[in-house]
Symmetry: C2
Subunit: 412 residues, 2 copies
Amino acid sequence: MDRWPDLPADHPFGPTNLPYGAFLTRDAARARIGVRIGDEVLDLPGLLQADGLADSSIWAGALLEPTLNRFLELGHTAWAGARAWLLETFADPERNDAVRRHLHPLDEVELVLPFRPADYVDFYASEQHATNVGRIFRPDQAPLTPNWKHLPIGYHGRSSTIVVSGTDVVRPSGQRRPKDAEIPTFGPSQRLDIEAELGFLVGGPTAVGQPVGIDEAEEHLFGVMLFNDWSARDLQAWEYVPLGPFLGKSFASSVSAWVVPLAALCEARVDLPEQDPQPLEYLRGDGSGLFGLDIRMEVRLNGTVVARPPYREMYWSPAQMLAHLTVNGAALSAGDVFASGTVSGNAREERGSFLELSWSGQEPMVLDDGSERSFLQDGDTVTITGWAPGPDGTRIGLGEVTGTITPANHPG
Amino acid sequence: MDRWPDLPADHPFGPTNLPYGAFLTRDAARARIGVRIGDEVLDLPGLLQADGLADSSIWAGALLEPTLNRFLELGHTAWAGARAWLLETFADPERNDAVRRHLHPLDEVELVLPFRPADYVDFYASEQHATNVGRIFRPDQAPLTPNWKHLPIGYHGRSSTIVVSGTDVVRPSGQRRPKDAEIPTFGPSQRLDIEAELGFLVGGPTAVGQPVGIDEAEEHLFGVMLFNDWSARDLQAWEYVPLGPFLGKSFASSVSAWVVPLAALCEARVDLPEQDPQPLEYLRGDGSGLFGLDIRMEVRLNGTVVARPPYREMYWSPAQMLAHLTVNGAALSAGDVFASGTVSGNAREERGSFLELSWSGQEPMVLDDGSERSFLQDGDTVTITGWAPGPDGTRIGLGEVTGTITPANHPG
């Protein structure tokens, strides 16, 4: 693989990453699909049209759309075709000038959500996170529910409030029951939290009643994103029995602007932690779906690194989550998103939520400026970054997902 | 209101109902929005274009689309404009011939889903249902959770598996834990159930961070549908702790083909049951949102009436559900759907699920052919019908939602 001219070999957005995004330029009314290289974005429709590919190739035609959804519909062979063309284009020195004509510096464009979310499911795939939450929320019971090691627990979330990195998050209001109170009160959440997760963007639609086997699941996994599942713990604790989280989560979920193709993460594949008891056959298959991903994440609160969650320790694989999601015959749509659930490792500094990092407020975090936090204050900014190992010691960057809390609209 | 020629005055689809649907004719590649009158469907684009309205009115232009979503985006003043024109058109004898030119007999068209579902939320708004389920699933605890009378409990469901009445439902497979077993087994659901509900179709999109007050909620309620929230009780019982129902519900939810405008249900408005304790202010407002709906439902299993659930006994009002759904700042999209949760009254024959009717299998139902059922067998057909009082002793029909169970794709 030739290195893209003038880009340091260790740049996280080198010519083996090539994540997809969507951008607006100052004078454009409609978003365009782009591919990130270094600190620039390649105007994909521009290059495809200049090359004449947009008329002759179905995948190229789909990439002229303002979102990835048409491209996601085409499925994995189209994705592979597009990626092969991109890798070749960036590796060919004779094409450098042609590419350069369609590059925009990132600071001159506005990045927007590159897909229309269809259904959104959030999983709960970290054993350490589920154990911590169980200890905090249900101290009188076993931390893991009896089903936890038999299936990847998940639930549907609100897809219309998935927002792109950089979008402010308005502090949600709602009901919560103060400790030892009989009845609830209403007001802005006082325990506003994050969940550092990985999100998976799904394509290759399927029909209702047709489960996707675990060995085929990978064909529907287009790419990965960093994901922040903002959570109002006080709302959640009061509302979630018996039907699960609702308003404690549905106000906003933030995703990184760049979708890194799963195909760019070959070197990041690792074995899963041991699964004991052995899961049922539909969650095992021939074993090819049982891969983890070595993605290192970093959570910053107002600039201070407060956690480094290790994705490689997640108990359930992305293919297991997708196979489970469809085993009852639920259809997949282009633009479906599922997230992993909070990524937490064994060490305290590897926990992916403030609930766990501050142990429900008992052990506040200390920031570099000396201030303390258990949960988020208005004006606080949370930024999650991530990267994975790439070929030849390079890094595959996942960019960042960032958001700032603005005051509630409904003062309590 | 003149009566539409040749239609019996007591026809449930008379000229004061006028529900919206979408239909395909034999030679059409694209669905068209229609309005039901009697046992015919008015080709709305046909009449609007013949009238020249399609070019001059924004709402009429939106009704040329193959789904209601553009029309739903326009909001309640557009809906009122369209309904006023429709009521006038059907009331004017001089327009009878013009209308007749655009009618199709229902048995010559195929009805399809008239909207692209955006987010879907299912509530749990019947006190009797929640009490029955609590007694069955959690016999060692109080039947209602402490939050139940303080907020309308809800959760997000899968919108891509919302299907139109008449669509077959493939029996879902999945994990369930047999009674007294330590570990789960995999196979087709053995406790496949229904939930007779009312669905609400939402329009008038809102921005993230902007709650809809209860007094404004009605402006976002376009219309109502009959809704069957098929439920695999064995999958649900094993998976739902702690994050709520997932695969036990996400394989299919069926809706009636006709969306009855809320504006057609003025005579059906009734007082809510008493709410004690009084809910928080955001669920009360000036009181205008605290209306129930006198909709009578009938559930048939293979032709035998097994239940008559009374919607008027629902504890939470549709406006309360919508206000609650957005109080944390969650945005509304055109095409959002929320359902009421199972409608159950006090009497045994008023229960809207087989779980309750058979008391979890202990008291099977006896059908007219002498056979017994607790849960659904392959080949069984469930049909839910409904109607509400209309003006002058007439009836507003909601039509039906029907579905037949086909065998599982994954035999266990």
